[in-house]
Symmetry: D2
Subunit: 461 residues, 4 copies
C-alpha cells in the first residue's frame, strides 16, 4: 500500500535501490500491486496471467486461502521463536518429509532447514565435505544452484563468477543431456546415451584427471544435479540417463546431490522430479514451493549415514531463521496438502493439456517455435529462427517484453502475460503455471502467446 | 498447533531432524508453544521471560500487533511476487534506509536485499571483491558473520570450518579491543589504544605480510567489523577505537564493512551500532530485527561508488526471495516505527536501568559476575570464578539450563528465564531484551537471575 | 666412486632415503656406475643400451666430450656467482634463444632462467597470471608439467594431487587428440578434428561454464600444452590440430603456453616440437636437454609484451641458482652445437630409420605391439593385448623389468636395455634415444626388444 | 669466456633477458668474470671482496679445489643418470645426513632430494599435507622460503604475491622475535618472551581463530621457521624462544619445519642453525651450501613417521634432476669435509673476530650503524639514522652501490666490496663471508666498509 505514484517509485528506485538483482533485466522495471490465483495485477488493475509463478515458488496459486489461514494462525500463537528451541511444526515437517522420502527412496534420512535455496545448497556442501573429506564436485553445464559464492562455484555460468575473484572450489561442469541440442550431435533415438559413456570413460585412467585407480578414489566427492534443468531451460533428460549416471557414481563412491529447489513439490509431476527417473539420490535440496512463496524456508534431506548426529553433530551449521515458525507452519501445511490431494494426477492432467496446446502452437508457428517439451507442469517453448533450430534470443526477449506491456486483449478484457526466459541461449520460455490454473486459463495463455507471436514475428507466422 | 505430545515430538525429532543446528546444545532440547511480548510460553503455559529475544531479531516484542497488522494486510494484497518485478514496499524500504544512512553518514548509497544475514554478507563480499579485485579480508577474533562457507571463512571460530574442507578465503583475524581481557594485558585507561598501533604497524614493511609499500597496496580489501561483538559476547570497544581503525583503513584504501545484523535497529541505542563510535562505514549489512523476526529479510547498504549500476550491474547477484513482499512490507513498517518513535531515548533509558540493576547484582555476587557492560539495550554479564576473572563456563551453562527448567517462582507464579550464552569462553550472558520490556519485567529478570545464581553457585554467594 | 657393496648401498637406501621419488617403481631399485654415449653401465661393467636418455635430458649422449670441456673451463674461471650479478654466458644464452625464437615465431621475446622444469613452469604461471589477472588455466588430459604444487595442479594425474590437500588452481583438463584411442571413437581420417570442435563449442554459451559472452571474456587465462605428450606416451597429434587450437584461443584472448621441457632441443626433429605444427606459442618453457643433463638449468621464453620490464619488473621472481654459471655455460654450448650441426636432418634420418625398424617389429608381433609412431627421435611403441588394442600394462612392465636384468646377449656380449614406460595406461615405451646413436646401436636396440618380447610373451609371438 | 664487450653484453641483456629476476636491483647491472676464494673479479681484473658469498651458497670459498676435483671425477664416471635409478653418492649423502641428524636430534629420518630450495620447500609442504591432511601453515613475518607459488604463499612479503592472483594457501604470519625492533616495544632483558605468550594465547579459545578446543585440533598443520632469518636481515632470536615455540607446537600437534636453506651447513656455527637453540625440528629443509654453489641440489630431511615408505610411498613427488649425480657427488664431499674439519670451531673463531671488528666500526660510527649481531659467521650490520634506530635504507643502498664501483683502494690496490642488503626495512647488511676467509681479509673488509661509510655519510662520521 503506497501513496506514491509509479513515477515517484521509479525515481526512488533509481536512487536508492541496488540494480544488482534481476529487476533491471527489463527496463524500465515492471511493478505489480496485487497477486491472486494465476494472476498478477498492475497498479491499474490490469491482470497478467502468470505462467511462471515466481519461478515455481508459488505452485499452489497466489494468495492460496488455506495457506493464508495457516500463516495467520501461526502468527497468533508462535510467530517468533529462536531456532535454538524446538516447536512442533518444525519437527512435524521434518518427519513428514522424512517419511515421504523413506517411502520413495527406501532409506532413512533427516532434514535440515535453512532459508533460501542457496543456503540449503551451502548446507548440502557442508554435508558432502564433512562426509567425504573432499571439496571438489561435478555439476552440469546449464545447471543452476544459487548465487552465494559457494553456490556460484557450482553453477555453470561464468558470468556469475567473473567479477568476484578466485573460486577455489569451481566445479567441473559436465554436459547435460540436452538432446534437442546434443553437444555431441547425436540423435537420442540411437545414441545409446553416448554422453554418459563419455563421462564414464573419463574414469578410465589417472591421466583423465578425475580418478586414481591405484587408490580407487575420485578427486570429486559429489555430482550436483537438477533432474530437469531450471534456469537452463526446463531441459528434460532422456530415459535411462539418471539411472546410468547414478550407477557410475555409486561404483566410484561419488554422491549424487539432487537439487529440487525449482522442480520439487510436484512441478514435474512427482514430489521430487528425480522420481521420474527411478533414481534414489543421496541428498535432496529443496525450497521455493515448500511454502508456496510465503516464506524463504528451504531444506536439505540426506541419507542417515551422511547426516546422523554422529557425523553431523550439533553446531555443524546454523542460521537465525533456519526453522522459523511461520515458514515451517506453512511448509507443513503444503506437505499435508500434497498428501491429501493427488497432485501427481492433477499435474499430469493439466500438464498434458497445456503441452498439447503448446504443440498446437508449435504446429502453427514452426518458424518461431523450434522445440517444446514438458513433464508434469514444467513446460518449455524454445524460440528459434526460421530454420526451427537457431536460437532466436531477440525474438524471445521481444515476446517477453510485449507480454509485460499489459495491452493484450482476450476474452473481452485487457490483460498481460508473465513469462520467464531461460535456456542456454536465453531463448526458452520456461512455463511453470499454477497447479490451480484452469483449462480456460490455459487456453487464455495460449491465446495470449499466439497474439504475442503474431505481434512480434509478423513475417514468420 | 499439534496433536502430538512432547514425548512424541521428541521421538520424531530424534528420528527425522538433523541435529546439526544448535537445538541440541541443550539436551533434551527445549520446546515452546507461544510467544508474546517479552515472554515465551512452554506447552504447559509456563511463561519464560526472554532476555535474548531471538538473538536480537525480535527487538520490538514477540507478536507485535502493529507489525502483525502490516503482515496481514500484505497477505491480503500482494503476498507473493517474483523478485524480478518491483513492488512499492521494496522501493520505499530501500529509500527509507538510504535516506537514514545519508543523514547519518553524509553520503549516498543503495540497498540490496536478500534473505538471511549470511546471504547479505555474501552479497557484501561480492560488492567488495568486485570493487577491489581482491579476495582476502580482515575480520576480528571473536567476530561472527554467518555460516555459509564464505561467511564461515571470515568468522573467527575454527570450529565452524574444521570439518568442511579447505577455506581458500580464510580471513586474517585481528584481536578485538576486548578490554576486560586485553590480549596485550594493557589497561584501557592508559593503553593509548595499543592494539590499534599493533595493527597499524603491521603495514610498516612488506615483511609484515599485508602491504606492498612499493605499490602502496594492501593484500586485504576490506575489514569486516561488528561494532559490538554479538556471538563474541556483546563486547563494547573503547572510545576512539573505531575512528582510529577507520583512519588506518582509509589511508590504505581498505574498505570497512559494518556487520549490523545483530546490533542494528537500535539494539545498541542507535539505528546502527557504529554510530556510537562516530564512524561512517563503507558498507552496512543488516538483517534480523529488520522484520522483528517475521521474515528472514536482510540487506546490504553500500556507498554509491561501490554499488552503482555502473559497477554492480543487473544480474550481479540474485535470490528468489531477496525482496519478498511480506518481508519488505514488515521491514518498511519497522523502519517507520523507528522514525515515529524515539527508540534512541527508549533504549538509552531502559538500557541504563537494566545495566544499573545488573551492576547491583554484580555488587552482590562478585565471586560469580566478573564483568558487566552495556550500550543501549545490549548488555553483558560475564560469569567468572571466585577471582572475578577466570571464565566459568560451567557455571554459565548451569545457570542457563536451570533457567530453562521453568521452575523458578517470582511474583507469585512459576516462570522460566531465557538467556543466551556467548563470549570467547562461553561464559557471557548476552542480554538483548525486548524494547517493549517494562521496568517491572526488568526487575523480574534480575530477580530470576538472582535466584539462578543462588541455586547454581550456593557456595559463592 | 664408493667403497660400499651393492648390498650395503641398498641397506643404507632402505634406511635413509625417502622412497617418495620414482626409484622404487622398480623393486629392488636398479643402480648404475657409469654412463657414456648411449650406454649406462652397472657395477659389474655390463652395458645397458639406453633408449630413453634420462627422459630426453641427455639428447647429446652421456659424457659428451665437448660439453664436458665447456663445463670444466667454466669451473676454472667463474664456477660460482650470485645470480644477482651478470655473467656473459647467461646473456649470450638468452640472446641465442631469443634470436632463434624470433626467427621461428616472428616476434620478439625474452628469456627467464630458473632450475628444474617445474620452476620454469611456475615462472610461466606467474607471467600468465600477471598478464591476464586470472588464475585458472586449461591443460590436457595426459599432460604432465611437473610436480611442484602449482605444476601438479595443471598436470592431469589425480594421483599426484590426491594426498596433498586442496588444489585451488586445478586446471580444467581437455582431451588430447590421442587418435589411436580417440576419446570420441572417431577415425582421424574423417573426424574433421571433432575434438577441436567439441572444445570450441564449449565457448558457445555462458552455461558451458568457460565464457561470458556479454563481457567477451574467458574464465581461463591460458592453455598449457605439450605439443607431443611426454609422460602421456609420446602421443603425436594429427595435422591441423594445434593450428586450429591456437585460432580458437587467439579469438578468445587465451594464451598458449608451450611446454617443451621434454620435447624441446630437437627431440621431435625441430628445436621446439611445436614448430612441427606451424604454431607460434605465446610462451615456451624448456629445460632438461638444455644442458644435456649436466645442470638443472631451465627457462621460459615469453612474448615481449608478456615479459617486458614494464610488466614483469625486477624482483618478479627469483631463485638462487636461476642462471648459474655452470648451467648457462653448458646451455650456451648446447645451443651453439644445435646451430653448428644440422640436428633437424640428423634426427629426421635416425628417427626414420628407428621408426622403420620398430614398425618391422610391430609387423612381426602384432599381438604385442598395438601402435607405433614417431616424430624426429621421439618414438612410441604401445604394448597391447592380442587384439592389438587393449592396453597390456603387465606385459609392458615385464619387458621393462626384464631389460633391466642385464642378461640379454647380443653381438657376442651381455647387455641390458633401458626403457621408459609411459602412457595413459602405462603400456607405452617412450623412446628417446641419444642423437649420437648409430644405426648399429639402433639395430642392437631392436634386437634387444625382440628378445625381450620373445622372453616375456612367448605365447604371443 | 666471451668475445663480447661489456657494452655489447648489456645491449643484448636489455633486449633478450627477462628483468624479472634481481639483476636490475642495481642499475646498470654488475657483471663478473672470475671467482676464487673470497673474491669476485670484474672484467678488468679488479677484485671484489665478497662478504655475502652468493647468499651463503658458497660457504667453502669460490673455486674450492677439493670440490672441483670431486666434480671433475664424477664427470668422468657417471655424469648423467636418470633419477629413477640409484647411484652410490645419492645413497651415501642421504645416509650421511641421516646419521648426522640422528645424532643431533635423537631420531631417525630420511632424506628426499630435489633441485633448488623452493622445490625442497614444495616437497616439505607435500610431506606436511600428507601427514596432517591440512593445508594451512604458520610462518614468520620477515620469513623467506622461496618464490614458487606455494613458497611465495608462506613467504611474508606481499610484494611477491601481489601480481600473481589468489593464494589459496597464504600462511598466517606471526611476528618474529626481532628484539632490536620488538613489535611489542618490549626489552629482551625483561620481556619474558612476551611474543611467545602472545602466540600461545591465540590458542586459548576457538574465537582466536586457530584452534578448536572441542576437537583439540589446530587449523594450521605446521610452522615454517628460519632459525635465523635470512632475507629478513640475519635476525637472531633470543635464547629460549625456539624451545618455547616448539613446546607450544608439540602440545598442539603442529609440526615445526626448519628452513636451513640459507643458515645450514655451519653458516650459524652449527651444521643446522636450529642446533644453537636446542630444538629438534620435525622437518629440515636444506640447499644452497650443500654443493658450495656448484649444483642446485637441495633436500628435505623428515622424521621417519612423516616420510617412511608407508606414508610417503613411491611416486609421491619427482623431479628430473632431483638426485643428479654431479650434485650428490659434490654434496657428499661437502658433508665429508664438515665431518673431517671442525667448522664449528672455525666459524666460531672467525665469526667472533669479525663481529668484534664490526662492533669497533659501530663504536666509531654510532650515527650510521644502529645494530650489529652475529652467530657463527652470519653477521648483521643495521644502517640507521643519526638516532641509531630509524632505518636508513637510502644510505644502505648508497654504500652497497658504492662498493660495487670497484674503486676503493686498500692495501695498495684497487678493489670493490660485495655486500647484500636485506632486512625488513632494506637497511641491513647481511654478511656471509667465506669460511676460508682470513683475518687479513676480514680486516680488509672492515677497512672497505669504513671507507664506504666515510664516502657515503661524510656528515655523520
Amino acid at each position: 500500500m503506497t501513496d506514491k505514484s509509479q513515477a515517484e517509485l521509479l525515481a526512488l528506485e533509481r536512487k536508492y535501490c541496488s540494480w544488482g538483482d534481476t529487476v533491471h533485466y527489463l527496463d524500465p522495471p515492471k511493478s505489480f500491486a496485487r497477486s491472486e490465483g494465476s494472476f498478477l495485477y498492475d497498479h491499474d488493475g490490469v491482470p497478467y496471467l502468470d505462467l511462471q509463478m515466481w519461478y515455481s515458488a508459488a505452485n499452489f496459486g497466489y494468495a492460496n486461502p488455506r495457506l493464508h489461514r495457516v500463516l495467520t494462525r501461526q502468527l497468533e500463537t508462535l510467530p517468533q521463536l529462536a531456532c535454538q528451541y524446538l516447536h512442533a511444526e518444525k519437527v512435524e515437517l521434518a518427519a513428514a518429509i522424512g517419511r515421504l522420502n523413506a517411502s520413495r527412496f527406501g532409506m532413512g534420512g533427516r532434514v535440515h532447514f535453512n532459508v533460501g535455496g542457496s543456503q540449503a545448497i551451502e548446507d548440502s556442501l557442508k554435508i558432502v565435505r564433512n562426509a567425504t573429506g573432499k571439496t571438489l564436485v561435478f555439476a552440469f553445464m546449464g545447471g543452476y544452484h544459487g548465487r552465494t559464492l559457494a553456490a556460484s562455484a557450482i553453477t555453470s555460468s561464468y558470468r556469475y563468477r567473473r567479477r568476484f575473484g578466485h573460486f577455489s572450489d569451481r566445479a567441473h561442469f559436465v554436459p547435460f543431456p540436452y538432446c534437442f541440442r546434443c553437444p555431441y550431435e547425436k540423435k537420442v533415438e540411437d545414441c545409446g546415451l553416448y554422453c554418459l559413456k563419455q563421462f564414464e570413460q573419463s574414469f578410465d585412467t589417472e591421466y583423465n584427471s578425475f580418478w586414481d585407480p591405484k587408490a580407487g578414489e575420485s578427486e570429486f566427492s559429489a555430482f550436483y544435479v537438477e533432474p530437469i534443468q531450471g534456469t537452463g531451460g526446463y531441459v528434460i533428460p532422456p530415459p535411462g540417463y539418471f539411472a546410468g549416471l547414478k550407477k557410475i557414481l555409486d561404483e566410484r563412491h561419488i554422491l549424487m546431490v539432487d537439487d529440487e529447489i525449482q522442480m520439487g513439490f510436484y512441478r514435474a509431476g512427482k514430489l521430487w522430479a528425480i522420481e521420474n527417473f527411478g533414481v534414489a539420490p543421496d541428498i535432496v535440496v529443496f525450497g521455493k514451493a515448500l511454502t508456496n512463496g510465503l516464506n524463504p524456508l528451504s531444506g536439505v534431506w540426506a541419507r542417515e549415514d551422511l547426516i546422523s548426529p554422529a557425523v553431523f553433530p550439533p553446531g555443524s551449521t546454523h542460521s537465525t531463521f533456519s526453522s522459523n515458525t511461520l515458514g515451517t507452519a506453512v511448509g507443513l501445511d503444503v506437505v499435508r496438502m500434497t498428501e491429501e490431494c493427488d497432485y501427481e494426477a492433477i499435474t499430469r492432467r493439466k500438464g498434458a493439456y497445456f503441452l498439447a496446446r503448446i504443440r498446437d502452437l508449435q504446429g502453427r508457428y514452426p518458424k518461431v517455435i523450434g522445440h517444446t517439451d514438458g513433464m508434469g507442469m514444467a513446460l518449455r517453448i524454445e524460440i528459434c529462427g526460421e530454420d526451427g533450430f537457431r536460437p532466436d534470443r531477440d525474438l524471445a526477449d521481444r515476446i517477453f517484453a510485449e507480454g509485460m506491456k499489459g495491452d493484450l486483449h482476450a476474452r473481452g478484457r485487457r490483460m498481460g502475460l508473465v513469462l520467464d526466459v531461460g535456456g542456454y541461449y536465453k531463448n526458452v520460455f520456461t512455463l511453470a503455471p499454477s497447479f490451480t490454473i484452469t483449462e480456460q486459463e490455459i487456453d487464455l495463455g495460449i491465446e495470449a502467446l499466439d497474439q504475442l507471436i503474431r505481434r512480434c514475428a509478423p513475417d514468420r507466422v
